[in-house]
């Protein structure tokens, strides 16, 4: 028993230390965003700043139009990307789960092969930009790469295989329901738990995505929040290296050092707000994904 207690104390202490170390970097950027520019230039980013200030956030309010627009684009992309992705994923997964479906194995292999081999980013990029002309459109932020992934398709298919008994489908058929109706009215509603998990992860991927923006968006009007962050990081460095013409002349009072961190805080704010409410599902999702996927 004492051994058990000792182990509990050791675990408790070491986990407290590790968790604190994990959270400190996040704390640093939050504190930095509330530090005055003067203190930052004198002492650097610090956990115990000499002088606090809201200048960075005031400055961002003044730039509200740009930030608001990027936020709006990210929200639209996350919303429609997730919705479309989850629907089409479930629709692809369902026939693969029907034991009497003739092409079920061919379809499964068709989906699975995409996990084994890919044509590479170069041909993918040239295809999307030269043949489908999605550069500088909102589609570029939704379609390439993540929209339907084999991983998610198999996750949903396995759920259907294990949780939707054949008898439900049979009796619906006897009542004369069409395949489409069976899927929409019976199967899809039954798969809400898995669909919710996938939605959560897909939404996170869309919210955090910057790679599609990096490849396909050159017009700042279509920047989502992540690509705006990249732009701001580069631009302030650009200012520092001496050429201030890039942003115009009104930059003398730009509190660049703190604004940069305030932008990062704005970027993670929605995640920090939503996380406490969904963490349970999130943790469950990680386990399900690892076991079944």
């Amino acid at each position: 028993m004492t051994d058990e207690k000792k182990m509990k104390i050791i675990s408790s202490i070491s986990l407290t230390i590790i968790s604190t170390i994990t959270l400190l970097p996040i704390l640093l950027i939050i504190i930095a965003s509330f530090t005055s520019e003067k203190a930052l230039i004198a002492n650097g980013y610090s956990f115990l700043p000499k002088e606090l200030s809201l200048d960075a956030y005031y400055y961002m309010l003044k730039q509200g139009r740009i930030i608001g627009r990027a936020y709006g684009i990210t929200i639209i992309v996350t919303l429609f990307g997730t919705l479309g992705s989850v629907l089409i994923t479930a629709m692809l997964a369902y026939p693969m789960s029907r034991k009497s479906f003739k092409y079920r194995n061919i379809l499964a292999f068709f989906v699975f092969f995409t996990m084994l081999f890919n044509g590479g980013i170069v041909s993918s990029y040239i295809m999307w930009s030269n043949f489908f002309h999605i550069k500088n459109t909102i589609w570029a932020l939704i379609f390439p790469n993540y929209f339907v992934t084999a991983f998610n398709v198999f996750l949903v298919r396995n759920y259907y295989l294990n949780n939707i008994p054949d008898s439900i489908i049979e009796s619906a058929q006897i009542d004369g329901a069409s395949e489409m109706k069976i899927f929409w009215k019976i199967v899809f509603p039954l798969s809400v738990p898995t669909v919710a998990t996938i939605s959560l992860f897909t939404a996170l991927i869309y919210w955090n995505d910057w790679v599609n923006g990096l490849y396909y968006i050159t017009n700042p009007d279509y920047y989502g929040i992540q690509n705006l962050l990249i732009k701001i990081m580069n631009n302030i460095q650009f200012l520092k290296s001496g050429s201030s013409s890039f942003l115009g002349t009104g930059n003398v009072d730009l509190p660049g050092t703190s604004v940069r961190m305030a932008m990062a805080v704005i970027g993670i704010l929605p995640i920090m707000i939503i996380y406490p409410f969904v963490q349970k599902h999130f943790i469950k999702g990680v386990v399900v994904g690892a076991v079944k996927g």
Binding site: G44, Y94, R98, N118, S124, M127, F143, N208, V287
Partner: protein, 315 residues
């Protein structure tokens, strides 16, 4: 009358097996099929770009062929460095990542299922929810030479000399490994925790009765029982050993050319060739190399998984 009706219905259900309407089901699957055809299959035919001297004026089909020249240049110049970096980082991540994740999982499991465990789990998982862009910002807050936390506070505290982190290649293997662990350890420890929770508690009880200490229990029950999970997860990671996390290697080093020696991987190389240097042919060659070798490795890894434990094989 009602009774009879019900009976015949039941009989019909018994006789009849669910029959799929092939064309309706195909229609349901169609949007997904079309998407995968476009996004995943169409680019596979584009691999011939690796054998072309691509230029934007002539385009995909009219650019002249140049045989294996792209590969020759690639292997004369940067191939060794980018392949070495990709493989060494991945190996380090697999080994250290597994050790750290299992240690954390054991510590959390020992605490039982209290509210505190939930808090630790959530805290450790939090960095996993941030984009690599934000992680790049956090790295910048620590490492930039003028206002970074390390140069201003830590270095000063120990009376050392300031370091220009973003131009000193030798530090980056350590930095990138730390960042990787910070972002991923919570995620992986949750998987191992679930695996530990699945171990039969009776074994521990029996060991306790025999007077085995906690340490002995961990060493001779937990770790051996985790072996299948460790083997499977590691092999799956090995299957992707030629792929690196683009975000980690592109965002965290801030695209600094001075440290490419230790931060350039196949994925960042392909990106820079395509988007920054306009060397499409070379970029395509590196990408094709990655796809082909990656394909061979994943098939091999799966064959081994199948031998170890058939149930966990991917295919």
């Amino acid at each position: 009358m009602i009774n009879k009706n019900e009976r015949t219905k039941k009989e019909r259900i018994k006789k009849r097996k669910e029959l799929a309407n092939t064309s309706s089901l195909l229609v349901i699957a169609l949007p997904g099929i079309i998407y995968l055809l476009i996004n995943n299959y169409l680019p596979m035919f584009g691999v011939f770009l690796a054998f072309k001297d691509y230029n934007y004026i002539d385009g995909v089909f009219k650019s002249p062929w140049n045989g294996l020249k792209n590969f020759e240049y690639l292997f004369k110049q940067d191939a060794f460095m980018i392949i070495r970096n990709t493989l060494l980082y991945n190996l380090t991540f697999i080994v250290l990542g597994t050790i750290v994740a299992i240690s954390l999982a054991i510590l959390m499991h020992e605490l039982g299922s209290s509210k505190r465990v939930k808090f630790f789990q959530s805290s450790l998982l939090l960095p996993n929810l941030f984009s690599w862009v934000v992680v790049g910002f956090i790295g910048f807050a620590f490492l930039n030479s003028d206002t970074g936390f390390i140069n201003n506070t830590v270095i000063e505290l120990f009376g050392l000399e300031k370091v220009a982190w973003y131009s000193e290649a030798k530090y980056w293997p350590v930095i990138l490994t730390l960042v990787y662990l910070w972002k991923m350890m919570g995620f992986h420890s949750i998987i191992y925790m679930a695996s530990i929770a699945g171990i039969d508690q009776g074994i521990y009880e029996a060991a306790q009765i025999d007077g085995a200490s906690k340490w002995v229990q961990i060493k001779s029950i937990t770790l051996p029982m985790l072996k299948p999970t460790i083997v499977i997860l590691s092999l799956m990671a090995v299957g992707r050993i030629f792929y690196s996390d683009f975000g980690l290697f592109y965002q965290v080093p801030m695209n600094s050319g001075a440290i490419f020696e230790t931060t350039q991987t196949i994925d960042t190389y392909v990106y820079r060739g395509l988007m920054e240097l306009n060397d499409v042919g070379m970029s395509a060659a590196a990408g094709l190399y990655q796809s082909l070798v990656g394909f061979i490795v994943v098939i091999t890894a799966n064959a081994i998984v199948r031998k170890v434990n058939n149930e966990n094989a991917l295919f």
